[in-house]
Symmetry: C2
Subunit: 273 residues, 2 copies
């Protein structure tokens, strides 16, 4: 068995809870490489850069793996790709890639939602055949706006079926538009509880496209950068009847990814973005 | 030694960290009494009721101990009053009493600040001779907007000396008007770290008027009610040169309080608000 494979116990835990935490999967050198690549990518102008509501700071960047080879290497890295293939299927590609930069003293909160509802509505994604990876580019603590999961909430399917009337956003499908109602969340929180996986930078959390999650604002004076890549089953391509969203939001290259072994820095020589 | 006295170790901890947590000091029957009294008090109209910015929900209620005898008994209860007298001086009175009701799904955050700066500016309070008690009317978790302290940050005195230009509020002195700058907080957070005491309903946290603290919004679907009473040294009365704030914000009765022994429910027969 490869060292990068999940144990059966970890696989069971993922399916039971809807998420699985892998502490310190990347080392500090690798984290520094990724942070540098993110800084460079924030300097690349274009619609893939999303600002905070006050306009002054970056809230999210999409599709950095198309522009920075460090991220192209990361999504193929066996330590993340092998677990994703174990949880989903051998043939997967990256459907969406984004880095949420939750700035110090704020960073808006993300409303309680299920990712798959957004993707079904916006892209006509047929089935919840995805696995997300959340890569901690900064340590995540209780104070800097961690993602909060309702463990097990993925097992009941979609809680709501459509988006809010008067939706705020078209392209990015703001979580506010698809959030659970107060009653729905109260019932789910009672039933499932809440958990927010903390960990040092370099930790990776795998999570289901159907798990109910949200996150609080960042109360700390330090930024909190979280990379989220969504792998989709190559046999589950979007079938939207409408104009597809731009490629930086919904990646078109659905060739199956092959795992790269070894440290991220070593892999860089063989990868281009 | 009375059972309600703090140990020397607890006293040292308070002075070292600027706060001290007393888990489950009140029992569930007592908590229920206080919740009922709070519900009743929210029905009493007047300027002591402060609404959330959206206007629909109660954000804070002041001076409930003037209207509800449960709170009049609480502030005299030996389990809180004896520790306060140990930490401050024998002759104390309640200078301010409020209940912050942080509603489900929101409840605005409170900016990082030091209480004593507010009281010095608004009321001419001469010295930081106060002890706050925070009484948890609901369990406090990492998800429902707990108060966050920078432990030890009270030992350096006031970080800033005055309020912001263009202050938002006159009477209630919004923490946003007296908040630390980003640089100040970054330096303090690096030096002191952050701690947020969690606990079941009925827990009480004692904290210094000079400790830097803030709190996040409530991400949970359940309310979080926190009672804060501020005891002041009877020899440290406000000496404001300006028109004093209303009595519901700054209590005028500075007679020293005498401790009441026994459970809150038993004390009610001998107390009026």
């Amino acid at each position: 068995m490869s060292l990068t494979q999940l144990t059966q116990r970890q696989i069971d835990e993922y399916h039971e809870n809807g998420f699985l935490m892998l502490d310190s999967l990347l080392d500090s050198t690798e984290v520094e490489l990724l942070r540098d690549a993110f800084r460079r990518d924030c300097e690349v102008p274009g619609p893939h850069l999303v600002a905070e509501q006050d306009g002054s700071r970056v809230r999210a960047v999409y599709a950095s793996h198309h522009r920075q080879r460090e991220f192209a290497a990361l999504i193929r890295d066996s330590r993340v790709l092998t677990p994703v293939r174990q949880l989903l299927t051998d043939d997967v590609y990256v459907y969406q890639f984004k880095i949420n930069a939750k700035p110090a003293f704020g960073g808006e909160k993300w409303a309680w939602h299920q990712d798959f509802l957004a993707w079904r509505i916006a892209d006509g994604l047929p089935a919840p055949r995805q696995v997300n990876i959340g890569v901690y580019l900064d340590a995540v603590t209780e104070f800097n706006g961690p993602v909060i999961f309702l463990p097990g909430s993925h097992r009941g399917g979609l809680v709501r079926e459509d988006r809010a009337a008067g939706a705020r956003s078209e392209q990015h499908l703001d979580p506010d538009d698809i959030s659970l109602t107060a009653d729905q969340l109260a019932s789910y929180a009672d039933r499932f509880g809440m958990v927010s996986p903390k960990g040092p930078a370099g930790s990776v959390v795998l999570f289901s496209p159907e798990i109910v999650h949200g996150s609080a604002p960042n109360m700390s004076p330090f930024p909190r950068r979280l990379l989220i890549a969504t792998y989709n089953d190559c046999a589950n391509l979007p079938q939207g009847p409408r104009e597809p969203r731009p490629e930086y939001v919904v990646c078109r290259d659905s060739e199956p990814l092959a795992p790269l072994e070894g440290p991220l820095s070593g892999a860089l020589t063989g990868v281009s973005a």
